[in-house]
């Protein structure tokens, strides 16, 4: 046995070692899970906390963790090590080109799919049955795609880590809600106003903080996000406090048709269709699709303009930028403001879609989710960010569908609880697996002879 282990070392599989790893990890897991899972604190009838013994469950979980580690050590790690040795060098140019072609093809197919998606869903599930798929998946994911693309300008292109992006989302949402309720203005008037207000706040907040570097910038933006949320909670006269604002007007079809059931020009009535909220959802779907594509279009455009190049140069090397006469403060501010503007657009859409806003929707976790989408997607890559939004948001939405597991684990089992847990685990897992995100290669913005993809290894991540 022992000699077999020795000889296997070259081959890569060392079962003795893997077994040891597995046992140790299992023991550690039990030391931690034993108390946290195995001893559950519960309130009894007289409202006192008692400990409920579930050590068996903890033991099972620990064994699972230990076995998992054994499998990793025995099979996965050797394979990764072997692969790492083989292709230590960066991806070849040909590989990069092939990948770039693939993503290009993918984005065209994806675009077509996005346009026909609601029709597809309606034909599959019927008008009423489509609501869930169009709203929960389509609209929900597209909001995050748009937010991801907006934040991508700040983090991915300019390399500034903004952990308070949700503040601008909130500014957009509250601007629309308050202005629509108090001044009875339509969504289409308020959308640009909300965007501009968000951009304005982006500049206000950005001006003092943008000379900070690295993690400090991240923390200050986080603090700003929290301050805005706390003010929304506490300034009850202005924002309605934690109760929020309700009965926010819906989006109209450019004033021609309304989606209010009571309105005379109700869309369904006008076309003699059965009353259903599905039409509104489909309409919202196309609005957010258009808004997201607008974000993408403007971003692609900006990248080819001097400002976009300056953002990327800033991400690569700020000192060099300054030596070339670029006003880095202004450059950062524009990135911040434009990113905030798209956040504001998304926010006002969100308010119109929900019909209700409260500070609850703008907690730090939302910012964290959007940042995660940008980084997981691969900073600066539009298609990567879109893919990450689909994977992370769509994935966690899918977890809502796991009600059938109740049959397995009993009625107390609520799969919805595990959504964020799995989301967090996925964040860690993807970072460890691909620290640079899904798509890290970069497309140059200009070329003399031939456009060549730049390997992600060379692209810097920015200092902030």
């Amino acid at each position: 046995m022992n000699s077999a282990v020795k000889t296997n070392e070259r081959a890569g599989i060392d079962f003795g070692r893997a077994l040891k790893d597995g046992v140790i990890v299992g023991i550690i897991a039990f030391a931690l899970l034993g108390p946290l899972v195995g001893l559950k604190t519960e309130q009894n009838m007289s409202n006192e906390l008692i400990v409920q013994n579930r050590l068996g469950l903890a033991a099972i979980l620990s064994v699972i963790v230990g076995v998992g580690r054994f499998l990793l050590s025995a099979f996965i790690y050797p394979r990764i090590a072997a692969r790492g040795n083989r292709s230590k060098a960066a991806a070849t140019l040909a590989e990069l080109e092939a990948r770039a072609k693939l993503t290009q093809g993918l984005s065209i197919v994806g675009l077509i799919f996005l346009f026909v998606y609601p029709l597809l869903i309606i034909s599959l599930f019927g008008v009423q049955g489509s609501i869930k798929w169009v709203d929960n998946y389509g609209v929900q994911i597209l909001i995050y795609v748009m937010l991801g693309w907006g934040l991508n300008i700040v983090i991915g292109l300019a390399g500034l880590l903004d952990l308070g992006y949700v503040a601008f989302y909130a500014v957009g949402a509250y601007s629309y809600s308050l202005l629509a309720i108090n001044f009875h203005l339509s969504f289409w008037v308020l959308l640009p106003i909300a965007g501009m207000l968000a951009a304005f706040w982006g500049i206000i907040l950005g001006f003092p903080v943008l000379r900070l570097r690295g993690d400090y910038l991240a923390i200050v933006t986080l603090a700003f996000g929290e301050i805005i949320r706390l003010v929304l909670i506490n300034w009850k006269a202005f924002s309605g406090g934690s109760a929020g604002i309700s009965s926010i007007p819906k989006v109209t079809m450019f004033g021609i048709y309304s989606f209010d059931v009571s309105a005379p020009n109700n869309f369904a009535k006008a076309f003699h269709l059965a009353a259903s909220s599905a039409y509104y959802k489909v309409f919202l779907y196309y609005i957010i699709l258009m808004l997201a594509l607008l974000t993408a279009f403007i971003t692609l455009r900006l990248r080819r303009l001097p400002i976009g190049r300056a953002w990327e140069a800033l991400r690569e090397d700020e000192v060099a930028c300054r030596s070339l006469g670029i006003n880095t403060t202004n450059t950062k501010l524009t990135a911040f403001a434009i990113g905030a503007m798209f956040g504001g657009f998304a926010g006002s859409f969100f308010a119109a879609r929900q019909g209700f806003v409260s500070p609850e929707s703008f907690v730090f976790m939302e910012s964290a989710v959007i940042v995660a989408i940008v980084v997981l997607g691969g900073m600066g890559s539009m298609i990567g960010v879109a893919l990450a939004a689909v994977a992370m948001i769509g994935g966690t939405e899918l977890l809502r569908e796991l009600d059938f597991l109740k049959a397995v684990f009993g009625n107390d089992f609520n799969p919805d609880q595990y959504r964020m847990l799995i989301f967090g685990l996925a964040m860690v897992g993807i970072m460890v697996w691909k620290p640079r995100g899904f798509v890290s290669a970069r497309q140059p913005t200009a070329f003399l002879f031939k456009r060549k993809t730049v390997s992600g290894d060379l692209v810097k991540e920015g200092h902030g």
Binding site: P306, P444, A446
Partner: protein, 294 residues
């Protein structure tokens, strides 16, 4: 030695007067005054830690000097006091461009993009401060084409035209140094500050660098201030040498004058006096014969 008025006194593009820079208690530059003649190649030399890079950082606005005045006169006749300007204005208005000791290229961007970023300010105006550019109106397209042509000219000049669409980070060391110089030149400077441009170059590359610098001076009329260790560069191409030691100027003159200054030899080569002679002889072996006394 000749006492006639020299170029750097009669027509300075940059005059540094009483420059002092302190970091906490440490005096990095001490009451330094010197001038850079228009159209000259001026070398700033001295042992490591003599404060040369600090002087550069003061001139280019990255450090605010503790005291002192630095006046820059670009070709258009305007006058700029560099100590009062933020770094990016030094580059934009006073027309001073620089390179860095540890090359600072935009490594994830292509060579062409690097040179386009250097033309940011004129292009920014051409794009109507972005607003018109996004809408696709205004003359941005033409201006961008011109910028690309300018980049092509410089890529050609540094012999990297074939690699225009490769990322800058992929270039070998010597090529990165040349690209950094080209990038600085794309800002259209009147004074080009080079921080150890020959560091890490082999003799052939050093010679190419010399040729490049001479042609920059000839074709573009740009004055050059450089920090250098490589004596073949310093002695081969410079018109004027300023020697620093521990933040203080110990010599200032033509290459021939400074080369023969025993203080320079002692300080610069870091040997004690008994060995100075020995080294002087060796220096003469290489450079003494090719140049007669002025």
């Amino acid at each position: 030695m000749t006492t006639s008025l020299r170029n750097w006194d009669s027509d300075p593009v940059l005059a540094v007067e009483h420059l002092t820079m302190r970091f906490g208690g440490l005096v990095a530059v001490n009451d330094l005054s010197f001038s850079v003649g228009r159209g000259d190649i001026t070398a700033l030399i001295g042992p490591n830690g003599a404060g040369k890079t600090t002087v550069f950082n003061c001139i280019t606005g990255f450090y605010k000097p503790t005291t002192g005045m630095m006046s820059m006169r670009p070709r258009d006749g305007s006058l700029h006091l560099l100590e009062r300007m933020p770094d990016f204005v030094v580059a934009r208005k006073a027309k001073v461009a620089r390179t860095f000791q540890n090359i600072r290229l935009f490594s994830g961007m292509t060579l062409l993009e690097n040179l386009l970023v250097a033309q940011h300010n004129p292009l920014m105006i051409a794009s109507g401060m972005t607003f018109l550019g996004v809408l696709g109106i205004g003359g941005y397209k033409t201006k961008e084409r011109e910028a690309i042509e300018r980049a092509r000219y410089w890529l050609d000049k540094i012999g990297l035209i074939g690699r225009a669409d490769d990322p800058a980070g992929d270039l070998p060391y010597g090529a990165q140094r040349r690209l950094e110089i080209a990038r600085a030149m794309c800002t259209g400077p009147d004074l080009l500050c080079l921080d150890e441009p020959a560091a890490g170059l082999n003799p052939r590359e050093s010679a190419e660098l010399n040729a490049l610098l001479l042609s920059i001076r000839k074709d573009d009329g740009t004055s050059i201030l450089l920090i250098e260790h490589d004596m073949s560069v310093v002695m081969g191409i410079s018109d004027h040498v300023v020697v620093l030691e521990y933040g203080t100027k110990i010599a200032d003159g033509t290459p021939t004058e400074t080369r023969n200054d025993p203080r320079v030899i002692a300080a610069y080569l870091g040997v004690d006096d008994e060995e100075v002679e020995e080294i002087e002889q060796e220096l003469d072996v290489v450079t003494g014969s090719e140049e007669g006394r002025a």
